[in-house]
Symmetry: C2
Subunit: 475 residues, 2 copies
């Protein structure tokens, strides 16, 4: 790898671009930029310098400099990523978008908002809600994650079954290319086939094809009503089988969350939750929203009836707000509950055709026995996206855990691939899954990705070492 180091000359040039206070070089201040939400021990790596631009123009100048000087540059949002996508594996320049967090325009006529990439998702959500508007791209990390990060990973979340993922709402974006050019892709347009859809290519490319600095986001009317339904089933299959029955009935819930027995029990014990969930082999949390209370009510009842007609043990309806709150607490606390059991985990993000979920659950059980770990499974059943989580047995030593985790992931990904699934639905490949992608991906597909990367980033300086490795560029 022929990257150049960040010399004092480079530091001076960076200070000329973003100013003294925009350049962090001392060990103490850069430490926080060397990891994301993945294990620091396993994936952490410090940058040589952290740069905090305040405008797109500064971003472009920094990228031009990095490209000229052959210095790797890693864009970073909130650092809430779960695949190591923002970790500067080759050192070099860490470019944080944290100071590009302005709302640029709220356009009620086109129902769009234009923001900088460093805006926190929830800040955006609240700003538009004041106007009765709704940003439907809604990842679980909404309190911390940035819009730019959502775009980089085409973030999903619990509402994707009804509203789709982030990309559906990104009408336009400002991109700084790996060679430092700045351009807008898309616009305030509902349709556009004026050439290739480069915007959609950039969305989900994890910052390897350039740095998104601004976005035009489509808004919806804020749903005035929302309600929940909790349904207990004896088996995962019984729970999952009811999902397409609901959809074919013409009802599209906002979300259908799934929890297996292990997830439920662990979280219930953690919360001293006394509701009789231990009876359930699996549980669905179904949300409905809309702008017509009667409608939402009717759909909710229809879903309850369908569930009861198809093997549900118990149905709790939203009337009992307190019950629902207790349920959501169970859902929200699964990860925490398992951290108490063992802090060492690998949060996975597999996605399969929804009718394959019941086939995955027993496979996870087999894997947990074979590799001596717990693997609770919960997630977004409505779109087949499951956060199976490998949890280290407290007595297992670290070396064994790492070896077992690696072997277990290879098996799991092979199984998922066999069912027509993919290894990441919303977290991305990044650094964490890069080594596993080739085993479950057509080599032609990876080569087509590499070809685009080479063509757009001839010096391979833009977030290198993510998604796939690139052979050294032919001189």
């Amino acid at each position: 790898m022929s990257y150049q180091p960040v010399t004092s000359t480079v530091l001076t040039a960076l200070r000329d671009i973003v100013g003294e206070r925009g350049v962090l070089a001392d060990a103490e201040r850069i430490e926080a930029y060397g990891h994301d939400e993945t294990s620091t021990d396993e994936y952490g790596h410090l940058p040589e310098v952290v740069v905090l631009p305040t405008t797109s123009e500064q971003v472009a100048q920094v990228v031009k400099l990095a490209n000229r000087a052959r210095i790797p540059i890693t864009p970073r949002g909130a650092g809430s990523g779960l695949s190591g996508g923002a970790i500067p594996v080759f050192g070099g320049i860490l470019l944080s978008l944290e100071k590009l967090n302005r709302l640029l325009e709220l356009d009620l006529d086109t129902m769009t908002v234009t923001v900088e990439a460093g805006m926190v998702t929830n800040d955006l959500a609240h700003l538009v809600q004041e106007q009765g508007l709704f940003f439907a791209g809604y990842p679980m990390s909404v309190e911390t994650c940035y819009i730019g990060g959502n775009i980089a990973h085409n973030a999903g979340g619990g509402k994707a079954i009804k509203y789709g993922v982030t990309g559906r709402y990104i009408l336009g974006l400002e991109l700084v290319t790996p060679t430092g050019d700045t351009l807008w892709l898309g616009g305030k347009l509902a349709k556009d086939v004026s050439g290739y859809d480069l915007k959609q290519l950039v969305i989900g490319s994890e910052g390897t094809l350039g740095i998104v600095t601004k976005a035009i986001i489509k808004l919806l009317a804020y749903p005035t009503t929302a309600s929940d339904l909790l349904v207990l089933f004896e088996t995962p299959r019984a729970a999952i089988d009811v999902v397409p029955i609901i959809m074919r009935h013409g009802i599209t819930p906002t979300g259908i969350e799934f929890m297996d027995r292990l997830s439920i029990e662990t979280s219930c014990n953690y919360l001293n939750e006394t509701l009789p969930y231990h009876k359930a082999g699996a549980m669905l949390l179904i949300e409905i929203d809309g702008n017509h209370p009667d409608q939402v009510e009717a759909d909710l009842i229809a879903i309850g009836d369908l569930c009861e007609a198809h093997g549900a043990i118990e149905v709790y309806v939203a009337e009992d707000r307190n019950t629902i709150e207790r349920i959501w607490a169970v859902r929200r606390n699964i990860a925490e509950a398992f951290k108490v059991y063992s802090p060492t985990q690998s949060l996975e993000d597999i996605v399969v055709p929804i009718n394959r979920i019941p086939d995955i659950i027993p496979e996870l059980e087999r894997l947990s026995h074979r590799y001596d770990m717990r693997i609770p499974c919960y997630g977004h059943a409505g779109d087949g996206n499951l956060h199976a989580t490998l949890v280290k047995h407290p007595d297992t030593d670290n070396r064994t855990w790492l070896r077992n985790k690696d072997a277990c992931l290879r098996d799991l990904y092979r199984i998922v691939h066999g069912y027509g699934g993919k290894i990441s639905g919303e977290h991305g490949i990044g650094l964490k899954r890069k080594a596993y992608l080739p085993a479950v991906t057509n080599p032609v597909e990876i080569e087509l990705m590499r070809a685009i990367k080479r063509a757009w980033d001839p010096n391979n300086i833009m977030n290198p070492g993510k998604i796939f490795d690139l052979e050294p560029v032919p001189a």
Copy 2:
């Protein structure tokens, strides 16, 4: 351009792949493959040979042959395109998908259907409707167009405001690359960030990045109720201003069709339609669908009230089915009506932010005077996609018309660009608009497109001469 001709050796090789009856070489039979729905005089060009493969494997073999022999290959669907995308401008091989028209799987559990690219859209729609399911990608040419053509152009149509465009429903596709490799992109998955979204890149690339041979399509529950509303306004601005008011109210119509005065009058005269539409400076045709009759009814009334509260002259509600039928006849017959006036036209496909539509209308009037032609404007107001149509004055000679049309389009596209719009919303750039794209597109964006094309199609044999021109590939 260093393409090789289709020699008798090549013909023999093609016959070995697809069989005698799959190769058409005689002038009479290939004539029909030399044009699409654009003007044959202006854009038509004959292929040297037409190939009719019956399987993806045959498609791949033909592409491998073309790539080895440096023969341009042009994929073709139904030939209902409006941008010349399927015209073999360099001769060579015309590959028609007409025999790849099988339904491969209807999967009720995942609510997906897998079809070959040559299936007619309406055939698919009817097949799934028998199961109570709905294909929401619905272009106006639905009776003739193929699924493959819809994918190539990311087709929109009248329902995009509620259901989005074709790409939203394409979960997976089988692609034969320009070098003849075959691979599946995507799958029966609602989410997938396992590498770049190559599927979405291929969608809308007009067959320049490979040939789509199969697709996995997401289905919805068939909407059991639908109703219409016709609203007359004094001015286009009054009509358009009401659109975001409806949307912000939390109602998303299936479609909002717009017609200007010239469109209405011409069509009304053509039909001897006596309803008092001549009073209207503009007209909205608003559709609602859903699975709850009361709901649809309530929305319809709410929209009617909103329109009346915001300057509508008259509101016709769906109760009067006969009235609505007469209205739809007016909408459907605009193009026909103008053909009676003059058969020589250029059907445009501009798309602008919806609040800019009222600014476009007077510009079109100015252009029609400056260039001595009529320019009726109608289309999908809900998503800003307007089919402004340049219509030749019967007395204008052809040379003058071509010169004026060219100048008029340059002006129109510049104006659209100035309003943040694009020159094609759903028809594509193809051959017809290729010369105009650079004037309204950032050169960096076109170069990024070219870079992908070069990287995927090193010999530039896959539908060359479409969207943009490519310099000869460096040897």
